[in-house]
Symmetry: C2
Subunit: 754 residues, 2 copies
């Protein structure tokens, strides 16, 4: 950590006293922090790996998990690589078709490939450490709760730091390579490929991982608990290793790619907007988001170090929350310093950052309210379980549908306030109101993401402790140790739920930012197109008019919303299909080898892992393809509509040879993206929180309420928990990624839509 603090110190020094005033030093500083963070991650990983790795029995289990997870990731990355190469070729061809975009073709393709590679690397690193930290957490739990907690969190922190650092370094280096220091205003548009590459990998990583984890979980439970009557994580169940593998590939690799994408998309979007503000802040406005992520890295690393708990601590969440507070406080101070040095000390803009941080806090609290045992929603579901599975499901769905209300109010307030603060903060700048306000919302998004690395560490903490618990259970350790890992596991469940709330919150804030970046990009494209063809460009024309009263825009909106439903349906169904192959395989093994149930011979774990892998990878194709193809089809297809469909000719339109530019496709895609985002955010909240609430209602009953384990209420609660699984771990998180993919794909394909 020493390196990090050194660089941090250098950062403030350079900034306060540096003689160069063009802002380049900020880029160098941010990049240095990024590299230092990678170093810190390496040190953290090293310290985790050198911890004791438990008994031989534990190692056997851990090795099986590791092999399964690595085998899945190898096959998954192979599929995604092929796809990425195909898309890279298509991108190149697409950009080369038009003389306007041809010069950028190679840059966009490079940034796409780098983004995809970094996204994959983020997922891989997260998993690499977590499948090694699990056994070390389990082993540490044999002696100390605090040590176990710290190993698990530091394992998670490796992911957090690597994800954010890779996003920062990837974008920073590309920015320099593409000549950003010479021509800063136009380079951000060439970086959109980076966001798209990240999104594409994240989509398939989250879909494939999410399907894998829940197919293995549901399959193992249905055939194990229900049919064979053996407990969860019982070593006789052939699918039990696949289930533990699933936690890693779904939660670690999936969410790693998801949050990598969030920071990447947000970075690129904010740089595009920064380019629009060049007259005010120059290069500094463009580099601001990178500096914020440097702060994020420093604050999160310090936050992680702060986390420790007493050995008799009842709830390790307290310790984790303390780290979160520390991180946020440092991040706030960092943002203030950055506003002072880079944004001319316009304090209203610091207000925007504060709004972003407050939004993060509120989202975490609201998610806690809806998913924690002690509050009304989970209690209601538990109570409803007493009258059977039907009422458990009905109330669970009612809770799920109730959950978007408060977050929507928070998001609405955050958008309106940060817009207002942005306008106030830039009151004297000679740019349109709209650009000022939108920059305000962009800073709020950065504020919200300024603790992303810590949140990600907490998130990865979840599967590590989950696995640690599984390893303790399977290796027949004493009950007192299981109690420790249970505490950690419960905290891990909470952090996983909170991260989802945070991820969806930041996705909805970032959506507006990316939407604005898209509008800005279409404007640039139109200006160049009209300029090249010597057409007529109305004075001060902007593309900021996505009119819901226009039929194609409304239809685009309708299609965007319907896409989120169909996508969720396909994702949920994919879990069902893949689970079925697991069930068949387990039944087959039980029949083939009766020694398994008798405990005299070991099941073939690897074959199960192999089968789920194949099924999950097959099932991710359809929803993934739908997500990629729909926006492109609408953008290109709606270009065929002529100006018959324009709502009204109240705005002067750019023309070429007297023919107005056809913006039908670009507008319909904008609506698809915006309303798809709204619908996707609400659906994802319903599924994430509903699923989390079902899960904890079951856990609450298992503590003895309504008859406890084995009662009818418990059986009903298990049904709810099983229904919630594909909701909260497959469809919900995949929707996060879908939302951002819609934004990045429209950004990168924008030249095709005009």
């Amino acid at each position: 950590m020493h390196a990090v603090s050194l660089v941090a110190f250098a950062f403030w020094q350079t900034d306060a006293t540096g003689p160069i005033n063009d802002g380049r030093q900020f880029l160098w500083t941010a990049l240095s922090v990024g590299i230092a963070a990678l170093l810190a991650a390496w040190l953290l990983a090293h310290s985790v790996l050198k911890a004791d790795s438990g008994s031989a029995e534990m190692q056997t289990i851990s090795n099986a998990i590791r092999e399964g997870a690595e085998a899945f990731l190898r096959r998954q990355y192979k599929s995604i690589s092929i796809l990425a190469v195909v898309i890279a070729v298509l991108l190149y061809v697409g950009y080369s078709l038009s003389p306007r975009t041809a010069p950028y073709a190679i840059n966009v393709v490079i940034s796409f490939l780098v983004g995809a590679f970094c996204s994959g690397l983020s997922g891989f690193t997260g998993m690499y450490v977590s499948i090694r930290a699990n056994i070390r957490t389990a082993s540490a739990a044999r002696s100390s709760l605090n040590k176990a907690l710290q190993i698990a969190l530091r394992g998670g922190a490796v992911t957090g730091l690597v994800v954010v650092a890779l996003s920062l370094i990837g974008i920073g280096v590309l920015f320099i390579l593409f000549g950003g220091l010479e021509d800063p205003r136009h380079v951000p548009y060439q970086l959109v490929g980076f966001g798209f590459g990240a999104s594409l990998v994240a989509l398939f990583a989250q879909l494939g991982g999410g399907i894998y984890t829940k197919a293995a979980d549901v399959g193992a439970d249905l055939v194990g608990k229900v049919e064979a009557g053996i407990p969860e994580d019982d070593p006789r169940n052939p699918a039990v290793i696949a289930d533990l593998v699933g936690d890693n590939v779904g939660d670690c690799a999936g969410r790693g790619a998801d949050l990598f994408e969030s920071t990447a998309a947000e970075n690129v979007g904010a740089m595009v907007l920064g380019a629009a503000l060049y007259p005010v802040f120059g290069l500094k406005g463009i580099l601001f988001p990178l500096v914020i992520h440097a702060i994020n890295l420093i604050a999160s690393a310090i936050g992680v170090i702060f986390v420790r708990c007493r050995e008799n601590e009842a709830d390790p969440m307290h310790a984790l929350n303390k780290g979160f507070y520390v991180t946020s406080a440092i991040a706030f101070v960092g943002i203030a310093a950055a506003v002072y040095t880079m944004l001319q000390g316009r304090w209203w803009l610091l207000g925007c950052g504060a709004i972003g941080l407050a939004t993060a806090f509120l989202f975490v609290y609201i998610t806690e309210y809806y998913t924690e045992t002690r509050y009304r929603p989970v209690q209601d579901i538990a109570k409803a379980s007493a009258t059977g599975p039907a009422t458990n499901i009905i109330i669970g769905l009612a809770v799920g549908m109730e959950t978007p209300a408060l977050p929507v109010i928070v998001i609405s307030a955050a958008l309106l306030l940060s817009y207002y603060f942005g306008v106030r903060g830039l009151a004297d700048a000679d740019i349109p109101f709209y650009a000022k306000g939108i920059y305000g919302t962009a800073i709020a998004t950065m504020g919200m993401l300024s603790c992303a690395a810590y949140i990600l560490a907490m998130d990865t903490f979840g599967p590590i402790t989950d696995n640690a618990g599984g390893i303790i259970e399977m290796s027949n350790q004493p009950h007192s140790i299981r109690e420790k890992t249970d505490k950690l596991d419960a905290a891990g469940n909470t952090t996983k739920a909170l991260t989802k709330g945070y991820a969806i919150g930041s996705a909805s804030l970032a959506a507006f930012l990316l939407f604005s970046a898209y509008l800005e990009e279409i404007r640039e494209i139109v200006i160049h197109k009209v300029g090249d063809a010597h057409g007529i460009m109305p004075a001060n024309w902007t593309f900021t008019n996505i009119n819901l009263a226009s039929v194609p825009v409304f239809v685009g909106a309708l299609i965007g919303a319907a896409l989120t439903y169909l996508f969720s349906s396909l994702a949920i169904r994919a879990v069902g299909n893949a689970a079925e192959t697991v069930i068949k395989e387990v039944r087959h093994q039980f029949k083939e080898n009766p020694g398994i149930m008798a405990g005299t011979s070991k099941p073939d774990y690897a074959r199960c892992v192999h089968i789920v892998t194949g099924a999950a990878l097959k099932e991710m194709v359809l929803p993934g393809a739908l997500a990629v193809i729909t926006p492109i089809a609408v953008g290109v297809g709606f270009r065929l509509f002529n100006d018959t469909y324009a709502a009204t000719v109240i705005v002067a339109v750019p023309t070429i040879n007297g023919i107005p530019i056809n913006l039908c496709g670009a507008e319909a895609v904008a609506a698809l993206m915006m309303v798809g985002t709204i619908s996707g955010v609400l659906l994802a909240m319903m599924m994430n929180n509903g699923g989390g609430a079902w899960d904890n209602a079951k856990k609450f009953i298992e503590t003895g309420a309504y008859g406890g384990r084995g009662s009818e209420a418990h059986k009903a609660a298990v049904v709810g928990d099983t229904v919630g699984d594909p909701f909260k771990d497959t469809a919900g998180p995949s929707l996060h990624v879908l939302i951002k993919l819609l934004a990045t794909i429209t950004l990168v394909m924008a030249p095709l839509f005009v």
Copy 2:
């Protein structure tokens, strides 16, 4: 029926040869058809009522149902009346506050009260006949399937004819009273109160009825089937009469008010748009929607007469479908004649009508695909039931989420095509493109609703046959008769599902129409406001720019979408709460009087009915209030935002003393309405079709699949069916009404938003 055909004949005569050319004769003709339809409905009711009313035992049951239903409706209408009076006063005060709107205050309040009254009367009539037709259908089933089918359908047709006729007469008479024949261009704006009155009553009728019906159903099932182990409709269950009452108050009264509202809102919206087209069609354009509904009445009456089936018919749906085809064919010819005589024979506009009819057909087919036993979706759910309730629910939800995709494509195509046809059909008219296209979509909506009376007859057929089956079951009739009523009941379940598909389809088409009417109304309001204050009005200014890129508009959209989730959550939870009171009461009766289970003494049906009534009426308040208050709060609250939030100043804005008119509230409400509609339509489809599919998966298993009745698969399917109940009969239909309420409330409150 003779009267109807005579009037129909007169209609064509007058039109082709009439000397008066201002179009008044169309109003008189339409009103005559409306009155003739009421007469026809009376004759139909008379013919149904004079049919044999069965054995004394059957009558006892039927009387209990009738008393319960009437008692509920009395109490419900009392609550709604109080509410309506309060709102009427508020409306009057609101309109009187501003000198611009004060002259219309009394007219708007009158039309509100008339709309509310007609809506209530529609619901009441539907139920009056259906609770009497049920026993006559049961009795007829003892001798002839065809007779039973005809009695049930004609009972339903009374509702269909009364609903459409009241809407036609109500609006027509108000139009004359308010001086529409002298000043046709401004009267349609004063009729918006009619639509709002209809919506308000429909909202509470549907919510209250929907909560009642499912609370009684779920409560009766849980305590009867699950706890006491007695079959459905067993006379020992104290809640069994409440359950049968529920079918009437939910399906008849609720859906009657729902479709009354659809036709009313569509009529008013189309007349407002017709007023904008006054330069082209004069009075005829404004009266066109009324004439379409006259055609609707004639076509549907003839369609109903055509329905008959063979005694050994396997599926009465064939007969019902035949009637639908006849109705549609006549409606199409009627629309063609109306286009020829009223719209200057612009055949492209007939194309719009054809698109509407085709949309109705496609929605019916798609709904069939998703909810009928023989297709993949229901089969999938049945198959998933074999692995328990969890997989049944997961696949059911996946099916539900899949359902919006095809309807959305149909709606999109219908909107785009009818817009295009509208522009072509009015190519030579000197009005903006947008007005032409929107009139095209309006005619498509009218086309879709031109068979509404027949659809409504099919819908009310559902609860009548359901009740008939219940009466046969409870009065211990022979199995062969039960077989006949089972056939009718199955057809009734299908028609109920189809009507919901049709209702949501027409709601989504009509949304665009009402949205345009709202934009048009805001334009009028601004023009008057600016004119009165001697402000500056830019030339050709229109309010047709609801820009999603503007933050308040986006926030309005977000709130609209979130509203549909919270509303659904409250509606579903209301069922749970009300069902709990039922369960407690039944348990209490069983405990208090052990003779009930022994069969020696009769349970107190009336007390159960009384208790559900109170619970349902209490539970409808919260979701109802939310639906009414949210749009008003946004419209009025967002007025406080100043022009800081305007996206860009690309359009010249009307000003008063140099200050631009603040349109923030009006725009945010428009987005709330549009995106709320999109989200509501998709959620409603998910819930209606998912619920229908669960229901039929259970029925499919009951035919012997996967082990048949009593198997584990059947138990799982029962869970799915129970979950689907509040989906498809409470929340889904209530969302239909919510969507239209959002549209009418924004229309009527529009003066407050500017």
